[in-house]
C-alpha cells in the first residue's frame, strides 16, 4: 500500500515517526507552513522556518525513504501580527523553489480584516506562480469560515481545481462539494475527524476530489492516521484500488498541478546521502 500524506508537519515529529510512517506505506508527503505553537515575532524566524522546509526537513525525510515537499505561506493566525505580515514580501523567492508544490496554509483563523488581506494576497501569488492553494478552515465558527473562504476563492478568479479546502467535516463537506474545489479531511485522535466518520463521508459523497491527511503536528495527533483510514476503508468493503485513489492518486493529482512533485523512486537517494550510513542514523543508533 502506497500512501501520500498531503498535510503533515514533520518539523514537529521524531525520527521514530518517520520510521513508522515508512513501515505503514507512506512514501511521500507535503508539509504546509503553519503556526509553530509559539508565536513568531519577526520575518527572520519565518525565513529560517521556510529554509528548513526546503532544506533540512526534506533531507531528514530522505533518510527514511520518504519524499518531502512543502507548501509556503503566512498562516492566518500570524497574519494578524503586524511584525509578521512583511513576510509576504519574501514569499515569491520561496514560491520559485523546487520542493514547493503549493501556497499554504492560507485561510481564516478568527476571520479578521487582516486575515482577509493576507489570504487574498496569497491566492494572487498562487495564480502568479501557477501553484495550487491549500486552504485551512477555522476551528471556531467553521461553517461560516468555510463559506467565507469559498467566496474569497471565487472572487480571486483562481480555478477551483487548484484549491484544496482542508479540515472539513460532516457539516462543511457539502458546501465545498458543489464548488469543484478539492475536499480535505484531517483525521485526528480526538478532534476534527476520525476514521469511521471519514468512511461514512466517502460513502455519502464518493471518492472524487477527496483527500485524507493526518495533519500531525506538535499537538496530540497521529502520523499513521492516513494508514488507519485506509484500513478502515478496506474493512468497510472498499477495494485496494479505491484506497490507492484516495490515499495516493487524489493527492498526487492535486499537488501534481504544480509540475514540481518528485515521485520517482528515491531509494537509494543521492550517492552521498546513504540510507544506512548517514548523519542521523550513524552514531545515534548503533
Amino acid at each position: 500500500m502506497r500512501i501520500f500524506d498531503p498535510h503533515i508537519h514533520m518539523t514537529s515529529r521524531t525520527t521514530d515517526d518517520y520510521e513508522a510512517m515508512h513501515a505503514a506505506g507512506v512514501r511521500a508527503l507535503v508539509e504546509p507552513a503553519f503556526w509553530l505553537g509559539q508565536p513568531r515575532t519577526s520575518v527572520g524566524t519565518f525565513v529560517d522556518y521556510f529554509d528548513g522546509l526546503i532544506g533540512w526537513e526534506p533531507f531528514r525525510a530522505s533518510q527514511f525513504g520518504i519524499r518531502h515537499h512543502c507548501a509556503i505561506a503566512l498562516n492566518p493566525k500570524e497574519a494578524n501580527d503586524e511584525r509578521c505580515v512583511p513576510v509576504l514580501e519574501v514569499l515569491p523567492r520561496y514560491l520559485a523553489k523546487d520542493g514547493v508544490v503549493a501556497v499554504g496554509e492560507v485561510g481564516y483563523d478568527a476571520m479578521t480584516p487582516e486575515e482577509d488581506r493576507a489570504f487574498a494576497a496569497q491566492v494572487e501569488l498562487a495564480i502568479e506562480h501557477e501553484l495550487p492553494v491549500l486552504v485551512h478552515t477555522p476551528h471556531r465558527d467553521k461553517a461560516v469560515g468555510v463559506r467565507r473562504s469559498l467566496d474569497l476563492v471565487k472572487e480571486s478568479g483562481i480555478v477551483p481545481e487548484r484549491v484544496l479546502v482542508d479540515h472539513l467535516n460532516e457539516v462543511t463537506v457539502g458546501l465545498v462539494a458543489e464548488t469543484g474545489c478539492w475536499m480535505g479531511f484531517s483525521i485526528y485522535p480526538e478532534t476534527k475527524m476520525d476514521e469511521q466518520r471519514m468512511v461514512a463521508i466517502l460513502r455519502e459523497f464518493g471518492l472524487d476530489r477527496m483527500i485524507v491527511n493526518s495533519a500531525a503536528d506538535w499537538g496530540r495527533s497521529d502520523p499513521l492516521k492516513t494508514r488507519k483510514t485506509a484500513d478502515a476503508m478496506l474493512a468497510a468493503g472498499y477495494s485496494a484500488d479505491d484506497v490507492d485513489r484516495v490515499l495516493w492518486r487524489n493527492p498526487t493529482e492535486f499537488y501534481g498541478q504544480s509540475g514540481r512533485l518528485l515521485l520517482e523512486d528515491l531509494e537509494p537517494a543521492e550517492p552521498s546521502a546513504l540510507y544506512a550510513g548517514n548523519s542521523i542514523l550513524r552514531g545515534a543508533r548503533k
Binding site: 529554509d51 526546503i54 532544506g55 533540512w56 526534506p58 533531507f59 523567492r93 520559485a96 523553489k97 523546487d98 520542493g99 509540475g259 514540481r260 543521492e270 550517492p271 552521498s272 546521502a273 546513504l274 550510513g277 548517514n278 548523519s279 542521523i280 542514523l281 550513524r282 552514531g283 548503533k286
Partner: protein, 209 residues
C-alpha cells in the same frame, strides 16, 4: 575543470535541457537576466541525476550541480562583486542550490574569487546535511580552508557518512594530525563495540606510513 564540467554535462543533458541552459548562460553573460530567477529552476529544466563523470574532481556531482556551475561561470563579474552574487545565491538557495554554489567554487576560484567564499564553506560544514558537507570539501576548500577547519571537516565526513573518496585532495593534504584524529575516532568506535569503516582506518593508519 570547466571543460570537464561542460563535457560531462553535454553527454547527459537532453536537447530541451541543453537549449534552456545555453540560452540561460547567454542571458547571464550579457546581463539580460538576473541569476536569482534562473538558479532555482535548474533542476526542473536540466535534471537531477548523477553526472557520472570519470573525472576525480567531479565525483558525486549531479547534473544540476554541473548546470549551475556553467551558469555561475557565465556571470560577468569578478572579485568582490562576484563574491557578493555567489553569497546571495547561497543564502537564498534551497539545499540543492546551495550545493550547486559550493560545487562551482572550484571553477570560480580562477575568476579572482580568492578566499572570499570561505564563509559559505564554513556555513556548509556546520550543517548536518551530508550533501552540503561533501560539496564543501571540494578543491576550493583544499586550496583556501585553514588546516584545522579542513581537518574538522574531513572528520565530520566520517561521522556523518560521507564516503571519504568524495573528499578532494585527501591523499595530498592529509597530515599526521588528521591521522591522529582518525586513529582516536577509530579507538572510540572500537571501545564502543562499533565497526570501524574501512576508509576511516585507511586515514588513521597514515601515521605509520
Amino acid at each position: 575543470m570547466l571543460e570537464d564540467v561542460s563535457a560531462a554535462l553535454s553527454a547527459r543533458l537532453d536537447p530541451a535541457g541543453a537549449t534552456w541552459l545555453a540560452e540561460a548562460c547567454d542571458r547571464v553573460r550579457e546581463g539580460r537576466q538576473a541569476l536569482g530567477a534562473l538558479f532555482p529552476a535548474v533542476g526542473r529544466r536540466c535534471g537531477r541525476g548523477p553526472l557520472g563523470s570519470p573525472v576525480a574532481e567531479l565525483c558525486g556531482w549531479t547534473i544540476d550541480d554541473a548546470a549551475r556551475t556553467m551558469l555561475l561561470a557565465a556571470v560577468p563579474l569578478d572579485g568582490d562583486a562576484l563574491a557578493g552574487e555567489i553569497e546571495a545565491l547561497y543564502r537564498h538557495g534551497d539545499a540543492n542550490e546551495r550545493r550547486g554554489v559550493l560545487r562551482a567554487l572550484a571553477v570560480l576560484d580562477g575568476a579572482g574569487l580568492g578566499n572570499r567564499a570561505l564563509p559559505l564553506i564554513r556555513d556548509a560544514l556546520r550543517t548536518n546535511d551530508t550533501r552540503l558537507v561533501a560539496a564543501a570539501l571540494g578543491p576550493y576548500a583544499v586550496r583556501h580552508l585553514e588546516p584545522a577547519a579542513w581537518r574538522q571537516g574531513v572528520l565530520k565526513c566520517a561521522f556523518v557518512g560521507v564516503p571519504l573518496a568524495e573528499v578532494a585532495g585527501l591523499a595530498e593534504r592529509a597530515d599526521t594530525e588528521l591521522a591522529r584524529m582518525f586513529a582516536d575516532y577509530a579507538n572510540e568506535r572500537e571501545a564502543a563495540g562499533r565497526p570501524v569503516p574501512e576508509d576511516v582506518r585507511l586515514v588513521a593508519e597514515r601515521k605509520e606510513a
